[in-house]
Symmetry: C2
Subunit: 178 residues, 2 copies
């Protein structure tokens, strides 16, 4: 029997993008960003901040993002029982490729390059589970989607929600394989 | 009804790697490379040439490869009837990412970034057809594999063989959608 397969997203699931974007917002907009300003949205969807999305195209943006708490150990545990793929929609940002690859090498050296995918959409990948913060990826996915909580998805009700990596560990314990 | 999906490999299918490797072989080994020397193998599997595989890791290697004859127009035709993904096992060579992305932008500007995938294996992608020169990709694929002839696969008998892009066009005409 083949191992069940889990797809894991990078940004806002393994890597925390929010602190960097908060800093950029405050520097570029010259005013502090409050949580209530971006609750329910992306930071660059806050009024007047649309141009901040351009920072995603800058070399180095993804190079030094902090690792989400507990993601390292939980992913390593999951790899003992599941086939794990890191799947990131990097294709829109060619300057992110090497940053993302090296970030994974540095923080997740136990993940083989054969299990990394850079793409522009995810619906064509076969898997049993997907951990992702984007509703559009959940919608296109045929397996069981776990929606990783991020400010922009807090109002979404359709998917199994996970707020952190300890909850992901609990979910897979209940699924019976951890 | 969803469109049928075709996965298309880059190296030795859309991009011709052989002339560059022949040149490198002759320069590095100080002797000409004859077709009979590498018939049935990769050029870097010719005796004494193993280290030449290292050139795949060099920045620029994939930047200026020639486009396979007729691939542009046939892929554009296929895109009218099928969902086409360009899927390349780039993940082993991080210096290839931007080269490959820009090569596609330059020669195949009609392919959207959402339809490009850089990965390390292909068996987890759902599709109806795959055009690829590697037997290991055919073996892992559940749809109909079309083996694109390359020196290293000439002895393989198990798959539908296509020798060039005009034969690919003919195959899909017979399949009924071109």
């Amino acid at each position: 029997m083949r191992q069940k397969r889990i797809l894991i997203d990078m940004d806002e699931v393994m890597a925390d993008v929010i602190p960097k974007f908060t800093t950029i917002y405050e520097r570029e907009m010259g005013k502090p960003l409050l949580k209530e300003d971006y609750y329910g949205k992306k930071i660059y969807d806050v009024e007047g901040a649309k141009h901040l999305r351009g920072f995603l195209s800058e070399k180095g943006f993804f190079a030094d993002l902090p690792v989400m708490p507990n993601s390292r150990e939980v992913i390593q545990e999951l790899m003992g029982e599941y086939e794990v793929f890191i799947v990131t929609a990097a294709m829109e940002f060619k300057n992110s490729f090497v940053d993302k690859y090296e970030w994974l090498e540095k923080h997740f050296p136990f993940i083989h390059f054969r299990n990394i995918v850079f793409c522009g959409q995810k619906g064509m990948i076969k898997a049993d589970y997907m951990i992702d913060d984007h509703v559009r990826n959940m919608e296109a996915f045929e397996g069981h989607g776990l929606l990783y909580t991020s400010f922009h998805n807090v109002y979404e009700k359709r998917y199994t929600r996970v707020n952190n990596w300890l909850e992901i560990r609990e979910f897979f314990k209940i699924e019976g394989a951890l």
